[in-house]
Symmetry: C2
DNA sequence: TTGTAAGCGTTATCAA
DNA sequence: TTGATAACGCTTACAA
């Protein structure tokens, strides 16, 4: 259990003062070439490694860490976000500290606290809680907050979302154009912003298309595949079943496909899924796609920009979506 | 841009010394209830939040952060690992710092450096590099290192892997039991340890089963789906094509399925994939499955255990795999 | 039960 | 170009 050499030790070995050694190792100007050489030699021969903890403390204010609070790291959407964030942060010499809230507002709060104790320079959050006004004080104290995937209520911060309404409109339009009228919408939990955006737009488009009572085919609660499966099975057991399904997230798509496998003639039902997934291609599933990695990257970019310039105007980034026709969404109504 | 109150400010507001305030906020014993009360009140009313950076520095040694260096956070296998690690660390009041190496040994090295500067208490790594003896000094200096998914060469550290050979044996045995003899193996890059384990076992089992020249159907380089697809297409274009394919990782499985779609009679070819994936169920793909989240959890557990007791014996944890028959692996040879 | 004083390993200030 | 010396905000001996 050897102790690491400190900057002071390096300085002494090089025969210079602490400050000079610090200057060299931080690539600051105004150091004689010979001095620099000596310090560098001493550092490498001693195996010096700067202590970022001490550096951050001395610098005061924030550390060079950025916190990311997400719903569930095991979900491919969130991990794609994390990947994009991490890559962008690295470009700026920042490190990523991740934490999963399990979509639990209380847990989100305590994680926020822990990250703040770590003096993260910025917090990137996919908000689980309904109200984030507790962060207002932190923001006033200089904390950068960026939310991604859905807006945060109660605070006015940089936000990165996808065009949920546009994507929904395109998806429903796609099905309508293929002759469908009885279109079902299978969505996540009603309290989620993305659900609200997508379901509202669904109803609007259906209404505009002259389909009465589209609510009949609106379902919520498909937070996992099993739930979605049940909802879809139910839809097809009822009188007047739909001829097409818009599954409003990747879990819902999986559940929908599982359910349709068991429905007589289920393979004739048109399906469009929100969120692309790796095997959608192989399965021939038409989806509303967007770039989750890019979403994360943009969020990190905003975090960096705001840290550098706290007074800049708050930005809302809306990323585009597009329908990828792969067969399942192009089937005609029976 | 308000400055956060420090412990000293809280102490003053409560009319106690710095140390007493510290005691209260760290839940140390031997503080009068009334004093505690006053300090707590002062802390909340001032909006105090302890500075973990300063605390870690003062405590000396390592921070309460654990670093995880992984190949690619966007890959569902690695994010499952990360998820398991994060959950376990949280139980112990530790935080997770993630970084992606893109499977690049050089990058792995620099990331290691950055995490060490941050004085992480432990490093969990899915080794990309061939040689990790550079870490030997750090380990001697008290750093905990745990490797996961594949062993690290050059250092003797706690390791968590799955039973690659057993899984391969079971998969090949499964196909042999269904009457196959011409079984192809489509694997990742040859330099990867998992490839070596799996391919070697494949050849052994084939040999033991009396199949000569199994090498004919051994392919490597399927690091992504596209590469796998090409390899499989090639296999089936050649004379004496296989009647079954063992795809040695999740990417290879996807590529195999894509390729078989284009092969006449491809839907009659038996397929077993290494690594389970969400839609394997829906697609009816037989796989060799294991629990990646648990793998991460075990790695974190080892990291915590070793940090607490640096002299404990080095552990090698081998997690079991199991074959999940779902149809694709049970097709008879044509 | 409470307090004093000395670090922890940097960076920053200001003078030389 | 260099160097004392004081922060940074906390923990930990050691006293009282």
């Amino acid at each position: 259990m050897i102790r690491r050499p400190t900057l002071a030790v390096v300085a002494e070995a090089a025969g210079v003062s602490l400050k000079t050694a610090s200057r060299v190792l931080n690539r600051e100007p105004n150091v004689a070439a010979a001095t620099r050489e000596r310090v560098l030699d001493a550092a490498t021969s001693l195996g010096f490694r700067r202590n970022a903890v001490a550096a951050d403390l001395a610098r005061g204010g924030f550390s060079r860490l950025v916190g990311f609070i997400t719903g569930d790291l095991a979900n491919e959407f969130y991990s794609a976000l994390a990947s994009g964030i991490e890559r962008e942060l690295r470009e700026h010499g920042l490190q990523l500290l991740t934490a999963s809230s399990d979509e639990d507002p209380e847990r989100e709060g305590s994680l926020t606290g822990e990250l703040l104790e770590r003096r993260v320079g910025a917090l990137i959050v996919t908000p689980a809680g309904a109200d984030h006004s507790a962060l207002r004080g932190e923001i006033a104290a200089g904390l950068t907050v960026v939310v991604v995937d859905r807006p945060a209520a109660g605070i006015d911060v940089d936000t990165v979302v996808i065009d949920n309404r546009g994507g929904t409109r395109a998806a429903v339009g796609h099905l309508l154009a293929h002759g469908h009228r009885r279109i079902a919408f299978v969505g996540d939990e009603p309290h989620l912003w993305t659900y609200q955006e997508r379901s509202t737009e669904f109803l609007d488009v259906m209404h505009d298309a002259g389909v009465p009572d589209a609510e009949r085919w609106l379902r919520s609660g498909a937070h996992d595949a099993a739930a979605a499966r049940g909802l879809v099975a139910e839809l097809f057991a009822a009188p007047e079943p739909p001829t097409a399904v818009l599954a409003a997230n990747n879990r819902a798509t999986v559940g929908t496909l599982q359910a349709l496998r068991d429905v007589p003639g289920g393979d004739g039902v048109a399906v469009v899924g929100f969120d692309d997934f790796e095997l959608a291609d192989l399965l021939g599933i038409t989806v509303v796609a967007y770039d989750a990695v890019e979403m994360g990257r943009r969020a990190a970019e905003l975090a960096v920009a705001r840290s550098a310039e706290p007074d800049r105007a708050v930005e809302l980034v809306v990323l585009p979506t597009r329908v990828l026709p792969r067969g399942s969404g192009e089937r005609p109504p029976r």
